[in-house]
C-alpha cells in the first residue's frame, strides 16, 4: 500500500466537479444535464404545438390565401416551413440523445455501483469522459441553428435523399451527424464501463443470480448500446460521405440504395428504443416492490424477460419500414417477431402487477409515477401492436398515430420512469427528501397532460393527419387543441419538477440512510450506506442475506 506515500492532487470546489471521476458526482451531472436538456427539448416541442394550435395554420386558410393570391396567413412557421422541420428534427434529437439515453445512464451511474456494492465504476476516468463527450456533441447540434440553412431538418431519422439536400451548402445536417458520432461514442464508453463493472466488481458473494434488477437491466441495455451504436454511426456516416465526399452509398442512380440506409439506421434505432426504456423496467421493479412491502414477483422471469427483449430487439427493425416495399416473407417475419416482443413485455407487466397484488401499498410519489408508468406504457404498447401488424401499419404509417404511440411509450413510459426513479433515489443521491405534496401535483399534472396530449393523436392519425407537416385540414382542429393543452400541462409539471429538485438544495440534508423505510424487505445495498453516500460508498459491504438472496 504505497497510496499514503504518493502525492495525490485533490481538487476542491468547482474544479472538484469538473475533474471528478466519482460515479456519484458524474451521475448527478448527467441528471442535471438531462433536466436542462429536457426543458430545452420541451420548449422545441412547444414551438411545434404552438404552430399546430395556431388557427392561421389551418389548411383551408392556407388554400384560401393562395387562391386569393396572397401570402400564407400568419402563423408561427407559415413563413418558414423549413424552420418547422428543424424544430421537429431537433426536438427529437435533443430528447433522444440528450434526455432519454443519458438520463438512464446518469441514474445507472449513480445507483448501479451502490447496488452491487462497488466503490466506483471499473474505469472512473473513462466514465467522466463519457459524460463530457456530450458537451461537444451538444455544442455541434445547437450551433447548427446559427449556420447557413439552419439546423438539420430531415427528421431525426435523416433519411436520404432528404438528408442529402443542401449538401455542400448548408452544414446543419453535417453538424448533426458529427454530433451523433460524439454522443454515440459517449454511449459506447458508458456501455463498456457498465458491463465490466457489473461483470467484475460485484461484492463478494453476489452471484449472477443475486444481482438487483436495475443492475441487470443496465447490463442488458449496455449490450444493446455497445452493439447497436456503431451501426448508427455507420448509417449517419453514409449520409456524411454522400453529402461531402461524392460517394454514392444512398444514391440509387449510381448503384446505391436509400432503402438500405433505412435498414442500417433501424438496425440501431429499434434496439435504441430499448436503450431508452429497459433500465427503467429494472428500476421500477425496485420501486413497486419497495412500496408494496414485498419482494419482486418472479425475479428469474424478470431477468430472462429483459434478456429476451434484448435479443429479439435486434431482429425486428424493419417494422419501421413496412411501406418501403419489401417481400411478403420479410414483412411476415418482421411482423411476427415484433409481436413476439409483447410476450416478454407482458411478463414484466404481470410481474409488476403480481408484486403489488396483496401487498401493503404505500402511495408515495415514486409509487404514483410507477403506477402511472404501467398504465401509460400498456396503452403505448398496444398502439405498438397495431403498428407491428403490416396491414394496419401501412394504413397508419407516417400519421399522427405513430407519433401518439411512441410519445405515450417515451413520455408516458420512459419519462415517467425517470421521474419515478428521481423521486425514489433523490433523497439517496442528495440527502434531501422531496415534498410529497408538490410531487403529487407534479404527478397528476403530468399524467393528465400525457393523456390529453398523446391519446388524441391516435385519433388524428386514424383520421389521416400526416406527421411532420405544419398545416392540416380543419377537421383535426379540436383534437390538436386538446393535444396542445395536454402539452402545456406536461410542460408546466416538468417546470415544477425541475424547480422542486433545484430548490431542495436550499435545505440541509435531512434524509437518513433509508429514508423510505424500505430496506427491511428489500435489502439492496444502496440503503445500507448514508445519504448521500461517502466518496468511497461503503466502508464494509453489508453481508448478502443468506436465507433469501438480495432479490429484493
Amino acid at each position: 500500500m504505497t497510496a499514503a506515500t504518493l502525492p495525490i492532487k485533490r481538487y476542491t470546489g468547482v474544479m472538484d466537479w469538473l475533474t471528478t471521476v466519482d460515479h456519484k458526482k458524474i451521475g448527478l451531472m448527467y441528471i442535471w444535464l438531462v433536466l436542462v436538456m429536457a426543458i430545452v427539448g420541451g420548449a422545441l416541442a412547444g414551438a411545434i404545438r404552438v404552430q399546430l394550435a395556431t388557427p392561421g395554420a389551418v389548411w383551408e386558410a392556407v388554400q384560401a390565401a393562395s387562391l386569393a393570391g396572397q401570402g400564407a396567413p400568419a402563423s408561427l412557421f407559415s413563413e418558414n416551413r423549413e424552420l418547422y422541420n428543424q424544430m421537429v428534427t431537433m426536438h427529437a434529437s435533443v430528447m433522444i440523445f440528450f434526455v432519454l439515453i443519458p438520463g438512464f445512464v446518469g441514474f445507472a451511474n449513480y445507483i448501479v455501483p451502490l447496488l452491487i456494492g462497488a466503490r466506483d465504476m471499473a474505469f472512473p476516468k473513462m466514465n467522466a469522459f463519457g459524460f463530457w463527450l456530450l458537451v461537444p456533441s451538444a455544442v455541434l447540434m445547437f450551433a447548427s441553428f446559427f449556420v447557413q440553412g439552419g439546423a438539420a431538418s430531415s427528421g431525426w431519422t435523416a433519411y436520404p435523399p432528404l438528408s442529402l439536400q443542401g449538401a455542400g451548402q448548408n452544414p446543419g445536417q453535417d453538424m448533426w451527424v458529427l454530433g451523433v458520432h460524439l454522443a454515440g461514442m459517449s454511449s459506447i464508453l458508458a456501455a463498456i464501463n457498465f458491463i465490466v463493472t457489473i461483470a467484475n466488481m460485484r461484492a463478494p458473494g453476489m452471484g449472477w443470480d443475486k444481482i438487483p434488477l436495475f443492475a441487470w437491466a443496465t447490463f442488458f441495455t449496455s449490450i444493446i448500446q455497445l452493439l447497436a451504436t456503431p451501426v448508427l454511426a455507420a448509417a449517419v456516416t453514409m449520409v456524411l460521405l454522400d453529402r461531402n465526399f461524392g460517394t454514392s452509398f444512398t444514391k440509387a442512380s449510381s448503384g446505391g440504395d436509400p432503402v438500405l440506409y433505412q435498414h442500417v439506421f433501424w438496425t440501431y434505432s429499434h434496439p435504441a428504443v430499448y436503450i431508452m426504456i429497459l433500465p427503467g423496467f429494472g428500476a421500477i421493479s425496485h420501486i413497486i416492490a419497495a412500496f408494496s412491502g414485498k419482494r419482486v414477483f418472479g425475479y428469474l422471469g424478470m431477468v430472462l424477460a429483459v434478456g429476451c427483449i434484448t435479443f429479439l430487439g435486434f431482429l425486428v427493425w424493419a417494422h419501421h419500414m413496412f411501406s418501403v416495399g419489401m417481400p411478403t416473407y420479410l414483412q411476415a417475419w418482421f411482423m411476427y417477431a415484433s409481436l413476439a416482443i409483447a410476450v416478454p413485455t407482458g411478463i414484466k407487466v404481470f410481474s409488476w402487477l403480481a408484486t403489488m397484488w396483496g401487498g401493503n401499498i404505500r402511495f408515495t410519489v415514486p409509487m404514483l409515477f410507477a403506477i402511472g408508468f404501467i398504465s401509460m406504457f400498456v396503452f403505448g404498447g398496444i398502439g405498438g401492436l397495431v403498428l407491428a401488424m403490416v396491414p394496419s401499419d401501412i394504413q397508419l404509417h407516417d400519421t399522427y398515430f405513430v407519433v401518439g404511440h411512441f410519445h405515450l411509450a417515451m413520455v408516458g413510459g420512459s419519462v415517467m420512469l425517470l421521474m419515478a426513479m428521481c423521486y425514489y433515489w433523490w433523497p439517496k443521491m442528495t440527502g434531501r427528501t422531496l415534498d410529497a405534496r408538490t410531487g403529487t401535483w407534479v404527478f397528476w399534472l403530468m399524467l393528465v397532460g400525457v393523456i390529453l396530449a398523446f391519446m388524441p393523436m391516435h385519433l388524428t392519425g386514424i383520421l389521416g393527419m400526416a406527421r411532420r407537416v405544419p398545416v392540416y385540414y380543419g377537421d383535426f382542429k379540436i383534437l390538436n387543441h386538446v393535444s396542445t393543452l395536454g402539452y402545456a400541462l406536461t410542460f408546466v409539471s416538468s417546470l415544477i419538477f425541475v424547480a422542486q429538485l433545484a430548490l431542495s438544495y436550499r435545505r440541509k440534508p435531512d434524509a437518513g440512510a433509508d429514508p423510505w423505510g424500505v430496506n427491511g424487505v428489500q435489502q439492496t445495498f444502496e440503503w445500507a450506506t448514508s445519504s448521500p453516500p461517502p466518496v468511497y460508498n461503503f466502508e464494509t459491504v453489508p453481508p448478502i442475506p443468506v436465507a433469501d438472496p438480495a432479490r429484493h
Binding site: 471521476v21 476516468k125 440553412g149 452544414p171 465490466v196 461483470a199 458473494g205 454514392s248 438496425t267 460508498n537
Partner: protein
C-alpha cells in the same frame, strides 16, 4: 484504478486511500473534440457564408483541425501519464488486468458491429444488384493484394509468437518478434496505399467506379478498406508502444495487459481483413 470492491468483514483503516484522485483530462479532451469537427467542416467549405464568420476561412479550419489534433494527442499523453503515476494506488493487479481485458474484448465487439454494417452494405447490394462490383476486365485485385494478404496473415502469427515468448519471459526474442510483426504490418499498409494510388490513377475513385460501373461499389470499397487501414495503423501504433515499453523494461512482472491488448487487436485486424478480402475481391 484502484480496487473498488470493498471487502466484507473488517473495515479498512482509511477508505479514502481507495478513492482515485480527480482528473482534468476527460474535460480537456472535449476542447479538441469541438475544434476538430469545426475544422473539418471549415475545410469542406460548407461553413461558407454562414454567420459563424471567421471559421469559414480554410486557414482557420486547418488551424482548428491540426491544433485540435495536437491538443488531442497531448491530452491522451497526459491521461496515460496520470494513469501510470497512479498505478501504485491499484491494490489488486490481477483484478485490474481482468477489467482491462474485458474492456478490450467489449471494445472489439463494438468494432465488429461497425464493420458488420459495412459488410451488411456489401451483401445487401450483392443480393439486390447483380451489377454491383468491379467492371469485368478492369484493374482490380491481383497478385499484389494476395501478397499483402499473405504478409498480414503472417504478421498475426509472429504477433502471437511474440506474445507467447513474452509470457515465457524470453524478452529478447519477444522484442524481435514484435518488430517483425510491425514491419509486416507496415508493408501491408504501404501496399494498400500503393494499390489505392494505382486504382485512383485509373479513374477508380471513392466517388466513381472506372468505366461506368456502379459508383456505390467504389464508395463501399474505399470505406471498407480505408476503415480497415485505419485499424491497421492504430494496431501498428499500439504494437510500437508495446515494443518501446519492452525496451524500457516493462512487462517483467504480471502486468502484460498492453501486450495482450495489442496482440488481440492485431488478430482482430487480421480476421476483419480476411472477411473483407473475401467480400471485396472474391465474391464479386
Amino acid at each position: 484504478m484502484s480496487d473498488h470492491t470493498p471487502s466484507s468483514g473488517t473495515a479498512h483503516a482509511d477508505p479514502m486511500s481507495h478513492v482515485p484522485p480527480g482528473s482534468i483530462w476527460p474535460l480537456l479532451v472535449t476542447i479538441p473534440l469541438v475544434a476538430m469537427p469545426f475544422g473539418v467542416l471549415s475545410l469542406l467549405g460548407v461553413l461558407k457564408g454562414s454567420p459563424v464568420g471567421p471559421l469559414a476561412d480554410p486557414q482557420v479550419g486547418l488551424v482548428l483541425l491540426m491544433g485540435g489534433g495536437v491538443m488531442f494527442l497531448y491530452c491522451l499523453m497526459g491521461w496515460c501519464h496520470q494513469i501510470i503515476r497512479e498505478k501504485t494506488i491499484a491494490h489488486d493487479v490481477v483484478q485490474q488486468q481482468k477489467d482491462l481485458q474485458l474492456f478490450v474484448l467489449l471494445f472489439l465487439c463494438g468494432e465488429f458491429a461497425a464493420f458488420g454494417a459495412i459488410f451488411g452494405f456489401f451483401f445487401h447490394r450483392f443480393a439486390q444488384d447483380p451489377s454491383f462490383g468491379p467492371v469485368p476486365g478492369m484493374h482490380f485485385g491481383g497478385p499484389l493484394v494476395a501478397l499483402a494478404t499473405f504478409l498480414l496473415l503472417s504478421s498475426s502469427v509472429t504477433g502471437e509468437f511474440a506474445h507467447h515468448l513474452l509470457q515465457a519471459g524470453r524478452i529478447g526474442l519477444a522484442r524481435i518478434m514484435f518488430f517483425i510483426t510491425i514491419l509486416l504490418g507496415a508493408i501491408f499498409l504501404g501496399m494498400t496505399g500503393h494499390e489505392w494510388g494505382e486504382l485512383i490513377q485509373r479513374g477508380f475513385t471513392p466517388g466513381a467506379l472506372a468505366e461506368g460501373g456502379p459508383a456505390a461499389f467504389a464508395a463501399a470499397f474505399y470505406t471498407g478498406t480505408g476503415f480497415h487501414a485505419l485499424h491497421v495503423a492504430t494496431g501498428l501504433v499500439l504494437l510500437f508502444m508495446v515494443a518501446m515499453r519492452l525496451e524500457a523494461g516493462a512487462f517483467r512482472g504480471k502486468r502484460h495487459f498492453a501486450a495482450v491488448a495489442a496482440t488481440w487487436y492485431w488478430h482482430f485486424v487480421d480476421v476483419v481483413w480476411v472477411a473483407l478480402f473475401i467480400t471485396v475481391y472474391v465474391v464479386p
